[in-house]
Symmetry: C2
Subunit: 361 residues, 2 copies
């Protein structure tokens, strides 16, 4: 920190993204919930055809992209806004819809960026404990004034709520916004997008980083009542009007047009998830009921720290948060079948070694 | 505005980007200071080769890109930070280096986004009038407490200060930051980057949107003392760690490796600028001494509004700000030679028509 940094931010603790190996060759990377599949060839071809016009500014409204996206999710054009990844849009939602009188409400165990966004925007935050089984009780949000940020499925637990539960919050508190972060919804949860037509206080955030294989291209969407989207646009046009670059707009359109590819990728991930769940259970792991493209698992005989290290020694990267309540858990992204087989083989070896050595936690 | 928007932002007036024609065919677009030349073929080829890995997150530090950039501008790696366009980095600089005790200082006539960034971050702003000839007197900044934002060359006037003048501010006020926005410096001004080694309170912002033909790909840089860059990173990692997508990182590297292409584009722009200056003077226009890729011009016999409209009728887009002191001026981006010839031909016709009709301002 320099002596020049504003005191407003002197206590700020930035988000720490999952490790990116400097040399990814030979690494089984299961730590940042990316898709193991490249973007669709058709989408890449479509995007490549647009490259010669990059001397001109991108469309700040991303109109063509937003039109195709709105149709895909069953929304109107004026109900959607594109962002440079969903993180950017989540920050806009913290800026627009929280303040001293409206704290940010979110679970104690959830996406780690929510607490950073609250600190960054200097709005009060209430971290509401999940139950012992990591389930979320919507009454905790109904009975508190404030803007709710609910990842559905939740991260890193993978547990999903039915939209009817989230609807209860929106219906009970018409003067408070409910933000539903559906980063992982495509892998088995139900979307709240249809509810945005009924509730003017419901905002859904989506990302193309997971199910749509575009983490490196950065694309997210906000879907909600047009008045909320207009507020989000007020923020966007005061920060970075040309937030989504031309390549990403084109790749997003190409990806949406090739919807079958996305469907097939999702089906493969779900198949690989089911394979991995069975194999992990076979090795004695305990797992939450994840509807996401990751699993949340612990082993009764080995600590999360030790498992993480032993896997890293074998060039298998998973995410270990080292935080209260979840210190023994690993979050394991679902990759390709061969990546998951390597993981299972490595874990089996680690557990055998541990048993032979009579190791302790 | 919805009833949910935080009162903190209820007065916010967003930035209005230059008009983007829905159908650009047949339009001579000289209104947003883009390069008329596409990105280099070598750079596009280089970037295209990276597309299949876009399912993985981009490098949040943009390390390879920052290393190549640092070498190009003669800085160390830890002195530079990449952004999703320079607007994002300017906002980081308003967040990090302004607060109640340190107002933002900038000219009354300058890049229109500075006042938006100050409002957005709710920091006081002092708009210091330029002289009648639009020149900037550094004493105005030396004698005031606050963080100076100086576009050099200035926009929309195009007038450049020598680095020795800006150095006076940094030297006189070691406890205040000076931010130099060099968006247009490549077209004939001298860069303040060498001064960042000497002054820990000097931050330079650059963009690839102008001289490097990458407006649609979104890439900017901040260059300064490593402690300042560390502050900027604190903000970045609290807003959007993966701010620069993989394609843009690759295209940026490719563009830097093909430096001759950029040099040739800049030389062409300067040649076209000189041609246009002479032609406009021949038509009776008065111009500032622009060192940028645009001209700032007015005609003693026709209002800016009228000239803008008459050009727009002929599908030639220039920028007219309609603001105090500069209402009679047009800001005209320098395009290709044929675009500039079309502009001159159109202006000649407009002036002849006006004269024939005995029109008034």
């Amino acid at each position: 920190m320099s002596r020049f940094l504003s005191k407003r931010y002197s206590e700020l603790v930035p988000y720490v993204p999952g490790e990116q190996p400097a040399d990814p060759s030979g690494v089984v990377k299961l730590n940042t919930n990316e898709s193991p599949f490249p973007p669709s060839e058709a989408a890449l071809f479509y995007a490549g055809g647009h490259a010669r016009s990059y001397n001109l500014y991108s469309d700040p409204d991303a109109n063509e992209l937003c039109e195709v996206f709105a149709k895909t999710v069953g929304a109107e054009r004026d109900q959607v806004l594109a962002g440079n990844g969903s993180d950017e849009l989540l920050n806009f939602a913290f800026m627009a819809f929280c303040d001293d009188g409206r704290p940010a409400l979110f679970p104690d165990i959830t996406y780690g960026f929510y607490t950073v966004f609250a600190s960054l925007n200097r709005v009060p935050q209430v971290r509401i404990p999940l139950a012992d089984d990591f389930s979320l009780n919507v009454d905790d949000y109904i009975n508190r004034k404030g803007t709710a940020y609910i990842a559905n499925p939740n991260a890193p637990t993978g547990i999903a709520l039915p939209p009817s539960e989230i609807e209860k919050i929106a219906a009970a508190k018409p003067d408070d916004i409910v933000v539903v972060d559906e980063a992982y919804a495509d892998f088995g949860a139900q979307s709240c997008v249809p509810l945005t037509r009924k509730y003017g206080n419901l905002l859904v955030i989506m990302t193309f980083s997971k199910s749509r294989s575009m983490a490196g291209a950065r694309l997210g969407f906000a879907i909600g009542n047009k008045a909320l989207i207009s507020d989000m646009n007020t923020i966007k046009y005061s920060i970075n009007p040309y937030n989504v670059n031309s390549y990403t707009q084109a790749l997003g359109i190409g990806t949406l047009l090739d919807g079958d590819y996305t469907k097939n990728c999702i089906a493969d991930i779900i198949t690989n998830r089911e394979y991995t769940v069975k194999a992990l259970r076979g090795l004695g792991f305990e797992l939450t009921d994840s509807k996401a493209n990751f699993l949340f698992a612990r082993h009764p005989r080995m600590s999360g720290t030790k498992l993480y290290k032993k896997l890293a020694e074998r060039k298998i990267l998973v995410r270990h948060f080292g935080a209260e309540r979840i210190d023994d858990y690993l979050r394991i992204s679902i990759g390709s079948r061969s990546q998951m087989e390597k993981l299972i083989k490595a874990l089996a070896e680690i557990l055998v070694e541990e048993n032979a050595g009579g190791g302790t936690r």
